[in-house]
Chain length 492, copies 2
């Protein structure tokens, strides 16, 4: 297998697929549309999980676990939600296999083990969770209920891509219940803010916070908040969503509570989630033609140390020095890996760590030992410098902070230079074809116009940014009056 | 709902079920045999996960994630494994629902969306993982492969009980690949040791390490190592297993590697797992008629502080003091919860924290403020004492250590006094009926005798403990020669 990736300008999509596989992040499995997340990719996902989990707990949420399966009768209770997901449902119909009488050594589904009621493999858990909440909520004292779940979900997609769109994916889904509409809306907005902070400060991915148009809302939501990121090829990626569900699920599952005055009312709901799709956003925001580029916050190893030696004696001396260096770096909170494999030459190691996006590479040879120096190479800028060992820890911690900031700034510059305001459909199409990115345009607020624009250009409405003020205008497509601009883009 | 539990002597099984639900650990769901793990129960599971994950990583393992589904043709490849699990498999046969033309508003499985090949919901992942490993292993340089997965699995059980036996459960499954038989056996033994250390040092549950008899082995294993615990009702519980899989899966999935001499050989395998079943072991090892008793290591809150006050002014003064105390306790690594709910009286709070097993309860009232004291109550011994606030942190950290040790010692004493050596089947039956526990007896080594003893007494072989030496004897049932004793017990 060639180590070299297809370049982004040559074929962006091919570059992405090759990078995911060659950097050992994930690969396709024997199950149509399902991926295997490999140890290196999973280690990055674990870092995301740990930080998100900390942020959820800090904002008062607890984790719990609900069943993988949703009985069909519960699944169909909230009609819009059911309608939105019905076409993507994996369905369990039987609970046993038996020896196949026609094919010795093979198994078949036991026709006598048909379930009375089919079970849907959860595509999202509102139904099973609200059916459970019914038993947990009696009065205002039981509210708010602030629960999150880390789980796998299944949505049967016809066209899949590693991390971006897979039949099974990992995610977290928050499901909260509140006594008032205002409180539920506040919660949905808060969690969208949490996602934005996480994306920007932890993943170094700039995002636009906003609300979805009606046609792009989650099935069953009254409002969908979202964070939208921009990939290097000018396409947008929805990185997280938070939904205000009104009383839709409370009504579908008859979840009422006694308020302080003793009156019965339906409970108000939110749900919010991010998934392993974030891995796709991470890759397509920062990486280059040599491979993955990781912000230090997400790197399984922030520093990799490669020894350069000609004989065992040199190796031993280098190893002694590396042990001292590593100990000091770890004490400063830096994660370090000593790559002492004897099966690869230094050059091959360099290439692998470049491909896998390790933020800093430290090379140390016999001459360095004499001089009290190391060679430090930065993955994001591909620059090298010789550093005195006495100042190494300070240097490394400073560089890691700088890399995190540089990556964010670079992505922010790219994103900001790819938001274009247009005032006609001709301009819209031209910008979309030549430059891509987000296009800010007036729109008449109808689904018909959204569909027509999508049909003609493949661009969809991404969100109405929180920062957009009301502004009188004219829809670029229909010429009808518009009260606000909206962001369009081609999207993943 | 009455807060009082059925007592253990009255009905142990009912006591267990009530405790699980009333202490907010878990409850049954709308899906047959599947449970909802509630936030308090899940917080305990998270503590187990964190410690196990740390121990796995310390022994060189990495996490990854493999698909939920196993195509039937892969599932049946390793015959013994397939045969062992076929009767418990949930099977996905369709990938879409549609509106039911006969029932407006309802959905049905779309008959045109039948899968070409059925998908088994993983009951365990050897098949899908070894099919993946085939692509990862070429030479000895790729070995050992030391991977763990945290996941949900489904085994369609007819009789289920919360945590102990559920259709869906959460677990971790380690799957490793090795170049030699000796190394794989060493790995399987190492992980059984890790489980034993975890159970004893972290969960305060004494366990017996040993090997299963052939009939009790994992389907597809050449050897199954296990840890066996003893519950308070004299029944055993298998708390973890580690399997040496020989080359069975490597042969079924054709996974070969080039050894250092360049010769092709099949890879050697292990797998090992513990599950949410450990929650059942935890409950049934330590708890009493008042509810859950938690070892401090597993307690979501090690100390709960309950204010006793008559008016707002008193509450404010107490709260100020509690803030100081909490800060000091947290700085010493103690997890603290201040229960300042105004919807419950102190007595009701005491009962709830007793039911939920909080190791230490600290009550503080107006007189305590004057005296510079607090009342400290210990959940395990139900003893109380008045403690000077100036010595509180030292006292609490000391008590937490003592509780952890006391719980282990108590369980160890019970367990040790319930291992009985017998030399006849009459004696065997009598001990089983009157005393329960583990029974050490000679057995002729045949499955027939195991089955007969099980049929007559419901006792099964639990393991051949590592500590048992070869010993010539006579089978208590058949009278045939025996070379070693084995432990029998009725088991969960």
């Amino acid at each position: 297998m060639s180590k070299k990736l297809t370049s982004r300008t040559e074929d962006y999509s091919k570059w992405y697929n090759e990078l995911v596989v060659k950097a050992n992040l994930a690969e396709n499995s024997a199950v149509r549309g399902c991926m295997v997340i490999k140890p290196y990719g999973y280690a990055i996902w674990e870092k995301m999980q740990a930080e998100l989990d900390r942020m959820f707990k800090e904002t008062g949420h607890e984790n719990a676990y609900f069943p993988l399966f949703v009985p069909k009768s519960l699944f169909e209770a909230e009609e819009k939600n059911a309608e939105g997901f019905a076409k993507e449902c994996a369905v369990v119909t039987h609970y046993r296999l038996q020896n196949d009488p026609d094919n010795p050594g093979k198994l078949r589904v036991d026709p006598n083990a048909k379930l009375e009621e089919e079970l849907v493999v959860r595509p999202t858990s509102e139904a099973i969770i609200w059916n459970t909440y019914k038993g947990w909520i009696e009065s205002y004292r039981d509210l708010p209920l602030l629960i999150n779940q880390w789980a796998n979900v299944v949505r049967w997609e016809m066209r899949t891509r590693l991390f971006l769109r897979t039949a099974e994916f990992l995610w977290q889904e928050g499901h909260t219940a509140h006594a008032t509409k205002a409180e539920a809306i506040q919660e949905a907005e808060l969690m969208n803010d949490v996602y934005a902070t996480f994306a920007q400060d932890f993943m170094a991915i700039p995002v636009i916070k906003g609300r979805k148009t009606e046609s792009e809302r989650f099935a069953g939501a009254d409002e969908t908040y979202c964070i939208e990121a921009l990939m290097q090829d000018g396409k947008a990626l929805q990185a997280g969503t938070s939904h205000f569900l009104g009383q839709n699920f409370a009504k579908a599952f008859d979840v009422k509570f006694a308020n302080k005055e003793g009156k019965q009312d339906y409970v108000w709901a939110t749900s919010w989630g991010v998934s392993t799709r974030l891995m796709g956003a991470l890759i397509m925001t920062h990486s280059d033609d040599l491979g993955l580029v990781l912000p230090p916050n997400l790197a399984p190893h922030q520093v990799v140390i490669v020894p350069i030696f000609k004989n065992e004696e040199q190796f031993e001396a280098i190893q002694d020095k590396v042990n001292i260096i590593s100990k000091e770096l770890r004490a400063a909170g830096v994660s370090v890996k000593f790559d002492k494999r004897d099966t690869l030459r230094p050059g091959a190691k360099f290439a692998q760590h470049e491909l896998q996006g390790v933020p800093l590479r430290l090379a140390i040879g016999a001459r360095d030992l004499e001089n009290g120096t190391v060679e430090l190479a930065r993955r994001d800028t591909l620059t090298k410098e010789t550093v005195d060992i006495s100042t190494l820890t300070e240097k490394v911690t400073g560089l890691l902070k700088d890399i995190q900031k540089t990556l964010f700034d670079k992505a922010l510059n790219y994103r900001n230079s790819h938001i274009t305001e247009v005032n006609s459909f001709e301009e819209f199409k031209e910008v979309l074809e030549t430059k891509g990115g987000f296009i800010s345009a007036h729109w008449d607020g109808t689904i018909e116009t959204e569909n027509k624009i999508k049909e003609l250009t493949k661009a969809t409405t991404r969100c109405i940014p929180d920062s957009f003020k009301a502004e009188e205008g004219v829809c670029i497509y229909s010429g009808k009056p518009s009260k606000t601009r909206v962001l369009f883009a081609k999207a993943y």
